[in-house]
Symmetry: D3
Subunit: 130 residues, 6 copies
């Protein structure tokens, strides 16, 4: 497959999961210096790996929360907590992922991601008028 | 709940997932020195966190593969790759988890866990006469 | 032992080490979503592991500073730097722990935790009128 | 060699790479509590390891960007991004280091350090009137 | 660019750096299960990122040694120590990278990678009849 | 102080803690390539940081067990488990450190270091005729 097709396909998926405006802002902010990295993210990460059929989107999002929490990446955990909501994950599922994080990565990792997940849920409830 | 009940419940679950003989051997090997840690594992990890209802067992196993791969714990990844098979995960699901690991934790983490997963699948096929 | 007893015992210890108001605030902030994690922290971490008799409280606090610095958890390091003062550790002991961190985890880990420890000592001196 | 000579030599190098005012401020801020760590940094890190002849300064800076990005140390990455400019590294070299980080440590590590590098380049362009 | 071209280009580069037989063996061993990961490695890592022009190959190899040492990936460090020799790096350059690792990641990371580098140098000397 | 004095002082301490033969073997094995790293270890780590007066040797050893377990360095943990015995630490103290590791770094870190500590205790009992 041509990488420009993968790029377009991945960018569409990113916008669907994280919101068109947010993704546009991130890409503008990354500028010329960040363009090759944005290519990796759009074409290889979202245009290839996220397009695979082995996992349903909600399960993939739950795995992503485990991965980003375990690798000490709170900013990326926040992005994927929003993505998890967009992919239909429930609060209870996220809660159970974070209790695995507590026992397998230690409570500090769980405390930080618990706080972030709570903030993401509150913002989501506010923006949906819930 | 009493912790001795949690312990018994967790030990039953561990044996169901990883095999009675394997779990008995691990517990014997850990000896008196390891008894308090085995209490944490049986009562708190398997008797509490794994007994929660927010995640189906197969999804929890897939999240565990992401967590143990992301936190650079190959021995524990091997244990949970076996558990994933016992919990009904497919090879294609495991494959897709490891491609997330490649892109979000880097290819070295994916190379090592890919090799381990292949070995676990081969052992499983051999022992089931497949 | 019943887990509700462990929970109560652990919560008492947390408040003694970190201050009643601080712990109440943290627990309120964690809300319903964070309740299962607070149960792990109160019952299993403080109600079980911190109640063990193998280590004196000040030594346990010094080990905690090494663990949280080594695992790149600055927010948790700050919490345990306060706990270390409450448990009677001296500035010189903390300093020597952080020099081990410098040589065994690298200078960036030591620079960050040195700064945090200095802030905690200054706050403590201010609040005690020292 | 006497450690006080190594200290003086290392401090000169630090000031040359990071600016006299910045280094003075950092050392004042670290105070009496941080003095032994500043000794390690000046004498052992800059007075010994950075004075070795095996690597040219610009190459050493590029390696440092890889090391600090890979070990999840964004504050230290920022310091060494400034040092890399002082040592004559180009934007394109830094970009290529960060694409290695993306593939070998995962995209979250690259996203964060890309943003920091962009900020450092912008500050440098502003202060040089470029 | 088409990904199959990137794949072919990356595979040629891998074989040049690590030896044709070694790369063939690795790819055969990874089997059908590992094929999508081998695609990432050949097409995206070696066919894209390693083909960029911002860094000379020897500098890229030195950065790789820093990255794999810093991220606690000894098996991958060994692979790239061989690649560093193929790309013309000297023992003294590798030595100086590992002293940076000692000071910025801690001595345990340096001890392990020092041992591996020594083994790779000895194998290389033996196979070249040196 | 002159670094050659620090080196001699540190080497004496290392031999006292880890045994003369073991340290000689390690230093011979590290060869010419490893000499600058051995200088860092002898002069800076053992000749400076371990010679400081802020911590008693047994407490420093317990902190070291926490640091090496938390930073995923099992080979170094084994070395310092031996050092902890030489410095008079008890099994119960080591056990309590590892339970902190379980809760603050996750159970996989504790399982691996528990196994190593058990082996070190068994070897020690065997060699002392206990």
């Amino acid at each position: 497959m041509d990488t420009s097709e993968m790029y377009a396909r991945g960018l569409r998926r990113r916008k669907r999961m994280f919101g068109e405006a947010d993704v546009e802002n991130r890409m503008t902010a990354s500028g010329e210096f960040g363009a090759p990295l944005q290519n990796i993210i759009n074409a290889y990460v979202y245009g290839d790996v996220w397009e695979r059929k082995g996992l349903a989107d909600d399960i993939r999002s739950l795995v992503m929360l485990g991965i980003t929490a375990a690798s000490n990446r709170p900013a990326e955990f926040r992005v994927h907590a929003k993505g998890a909501l967009a992919n239909g994950c429930t609060k209870q599922q996220v809660q159970d992922v974070l209790l695995l994080v507590a026992m397998y990565c230690g409570v500090p990792a769980a405390i930080e991601t618990n706080r972030i997940a709570s903030e993401v849920f509150a913002e989501s409830a506010a923006s949906s008028g819930a």
